[in-house]
Structures are given as C-alpha cells and as structure tokens.
C-alpha cells in the first residue's frame, strides 16, 4: 500500500476519531513519550489490575502516524496480560524494523499490522513506535512510570 492509501484507509480513522484519547482517572501507570526531532509528545496511561491491562488511554499531540499507532495499540492491549503486551510490542517493533515478516506472527497485531509499510519509510519509524516503546518501558520498568493514583492522594 502506498503512503496515501495507508493514511486514507487506516491512519486517518484513528487519528481523527481516536477511541482511547483523553485522560484517565487514577491510572496505575503513567509515562510521557517524546520524539524530540519531530515534537510527537504523548502521555500514556494504563490501568493494570492483577497483571492485566484493564484500560489504556493517551493524551498529547503528534503526527497522524504516531497518534493512530498509539490508538491502535490501546485497542490491542486492553485485556491482555503485561507479559503479552510486552511481547506484542516486540512483535510490532520487529515488524516496523522489517525484521519480522511472518504473516502468522503479524496477525497477532490485528489492525496495527497495517503499519507494516512504515518499514519502508525510515523517516517515520520513530513516529510509529513511540506509543509501543513507551508502553514497553512503563511495563518493564514500572518504577520509572509515575503512579498518579498515589501522587493524587
């Protein structure tokens, strides 16, 4: 798919009408992710109960690819265990880097697999992976992710 097709068919829907954009009340984990070179700046919020991601939301601004990618990510990780979400992030980043091409493995990503073509656009790779990298970091190192629910008390 060419870039214009990608925008028209997948990215715009998530960019213009994101399902998970906003601020969560009392998230368990919150982390800001920034791409300094282009100004993508998101804050990802997760509610994690008994090791399972119960809800995911993001705020901030950025290009359409970064916004759509994080919105699709939220769709995919809600209801998954932390371990599964980390594994899925690895699959997504492997796909974007062009390292994972196995169709079956990519099916796991569901709609987010549509961003596979970004692997041919090196300038946009950082945009696509921002949300996923942020999630991976906050799950692997929860001590670095601010815990807003306690901060607010």
């Amino acid at each position: 798919m060419d870039l214009k097709g990608l925008y028209r068919e997948i990215v715009n829907e998530h960019n213009l009408r994101p399902s998970h954009k906003g601020n969560m009340e009392k998230p368990d984990l919150i982390l800001r992710g920034v791409n300094p070179s282009c100004g993508d700046d998101i804050t990802l919020q997760l509610k994690v109960v008994d090791g399972v991601i119960e809800d995911a939301m993001f705020s901030g601004s950025g290009c359409a690819i970064s916004q759509a990618s994080v919105d699709m990510m939220a769709d995919q990780v809600i209801g998954r265990s932390k371990e599964d979400a980390i594994k899925l992030a690895g699959t997504f980043m492997g796909m974007i880097k062009g390292e994972i091409k196995d169709e079956e493995e990519l099916e796991e990503l569901d709609e987010a697999a549509a961003l596979q073509d970004i692997s041919h656009m090196p300038a946009r790779v950082k945009c696509a992976v921002l949300g996923w990298k942020t999630m991976q970091k906050m799950l692997e190192h929860p001590e670095e992710a601010g815990n807003v629910s306690t901060e607010n008390q």
Binding site: D2, L3, K4, Y7, R8, N12, E13, N15, L16, S37, C38, G39, D41, S61, G62, C63, A64, I65, M121, A123, R124, C127
Partner: protein, 404 residues
Amino acid sequence: MARPEDYRKDFPILSKGDYIYFDNAATSQRPDCVVDAIKDFYENSNANPLRGLYDWSVEATERYENARKTVADFIGASSTEEIIFTRNTTESMNLVAYSYGLENVNEGDEVVISVMEHHSNILPWQMVTKQKKARLVYLEPDEEGVITPEEYKSKITDRTKIVSIGHVSNVFGITNPVREIAAYAHEKGATVIMDGAQAAPHIPVNVRELGADFYAFSGHKLMAPMGIGVLYGRKDLLENMKPFLTGGEMIEYVTREDATYAELPHKFEAGTVNAAGAVGLEAAIKYLQNVGFDFIEEQEKKLTKRMMEGMKKLPYIKIYGSSDPDKHSGIVTFTMDGVHPHDISSVLNDDHVCVRAGHHCAQPLMQFIGAGSTARASVYFYNTEEEVDRFLEHLAGVRSVMGY
C-alpha cells in the same frame, strides 16, 4: 535576463525523476563544476597540504590557499589570515564560543542572541553563559518577524559582552538589521558575531560593511560540498585567541612540555584539512558569482510571491513571519490546520515534493510562535514558477489525503 532553466542543466540531480526540491534552506544542490573541482583535486593534485616538500603537496597547498583568497574576497575580509576553514557554521560558532567566549565573558556579563537563532547559535552561548555564570538574553521579533530598534536597544547594554545574531533567519527568512545592531553593540563595547549560514548563499555579504567581528557560514548551503565551512574573524581578535583544537599543523614549535602556535589562520586549523572541500567551495563561489546575486534575489522573490499568494488561497494554511514575500529570502514556513507538519511532508514526498518539517533546529522560536513544529518550503534560483504551481497543487491535495 537569465532564466532558471539556463542553470538547471548544470545540476544533474535536478533532472533526476520529477522531484521538486524545496528544501534549499537545509542544503542546496551541487552544480557539475563543484563536483568536477573535487574530482580534479583528488585526481591531479592530491597530497597532504601544508606539509609535504614535493610538487603534489605544494600544489595541494596552493589550491587550498587560493580557495581561502576567493572566500576572503567573497565576503570582503581584509586578508586571508582572517579566514578560518571549519567543517560548518556549527563548528565556526563553537570555535568562537570556546576560544573567545570563555576567555572574554565573566560572571555577571551578558550575552545577547535572538529567539530566532538556529541551535548552533544558541547552545554554544548556553555553554559559555552557564560556565561563566553570565546571563543569556534573547531578542524577540515583532509580529512581522522584525527585531525593532526598541527591542535591541533595551537589551544590549553596558553589561553586554557578546551579541551573536543570525543574519537571515532559517525559519522566517527575514534579514535581521545586523548592521544597525552591530553599530549599537559596538557603542556598548560588545563584540558582534553573525551567523551567516542562511545569508551567504542568497545576499551579498561584506563583513566590514556589516560591522561583523566574526562571521560564520557553511559551504553546503551555497552549493559547495558538505563538511567545509568558514569562520571570518577580525585579525586582532583572532591573534589574541587560544586555539580551539590542538594537534598537527597548527603549531610552530613543540617541545616535550610546551608548544608555540602557528601564525593565523593555521593556528585554528588543526589536523589534515578538507582541502578538496575548500577547492569545491571556491568553485561554488565562482559559480554563484557568475549567476549573480541580482538574479538570485529576483528569482527567489518571484517564486516566494507566487508561493505565498497561492498558499493564501488555502484558508487552512498559516504562514509565519512577514506578510511581505520580498522579506522571506526564499523561505516560506507554514502550518496546516489539523495536519501535522510531518504528515504534510510525507504526503508531499509521495508526490515527489521535498519540503522540511520539524523544528528546523530552532526550538526556542517554535515555542515563541506557539507551534510544536512547522513545515518549510525553501527555494533557490534554480527553482521555477512551474515547480511552485505544481507544489501548490499537491499542497491543496494534502488535506483530503488526511481525511478532511
């Protein structure tokens, strides 16, 4: 009257595919003669300049020093001793900051720059002022991108030791009143540094008429190779400065404990120099002089006017800086409602249009104008009106691709 088509044939890359290259403020394209000059240097006179006692080295030295003469004449320096070859504007600025700034700025002093500066004229002064416990003061432009006399006269004071200002803004394209600022700064006893990266390729520069104590520019923005830059410095200032980098060929005499330094300009050119780059820069300057600044300025104004008029018909586009196209130096920086600049650039790239998107290494200015990032189309004399029209057509199509 010349036409851009007369020159386009000199640039092989411009006939490659159907690309519209509108990122000339980032780097320009190279004509055949520049590439040929580099090739000729390596094929016919390559040896380490300034060292060897044999023909090839002597020839390499001569070509390198001839390039210096061409640069000195190009910007109106008093002598070749005032021309230091560096890698680029950034290195030139760092040289001044380390060798002059750290020595001459003290606690409580002030360094004045503008909020429109490129990072290469901000970070070195952040370093100097932090290290010396001095204050960094920012000049701010008005709505039209102009730094007014009221503004610089209120901020340049007796405490000001250094004023370092961009000659032409790489975001607004506006030419700053550097001559007036320099005159006022000198009255206050300050030293004046000008960042000419965005000026030297587009307007005539005479460092003495401008009143620059230091003037920096890069070769690659005026069709020379990447990796060759220039620092002009007033001789009496350079003479009193310590070297920036130390090592080979910048010395006079070295013992186990100590060294004396070479004469200007070699004191500031440690290590093997970029002689082929300098030779390429000389070829580029001669090419540019042949084209002439009259034609360059006229063509850029014509294209900028057409571009801005076309963009004004698109109500969702906001153009930054002056409302007068003549004051844009070929640069049009803009945003589009609801579409991130990176998406604009990616969609235009699909149509083979090259524009820059991001913060243009001028983040304080982005914060000042309240935009996280912007898109920038920048032309040079080899761009055509037909290219501008095609660009405008593609630009008008971006929003529909983005779902509007």
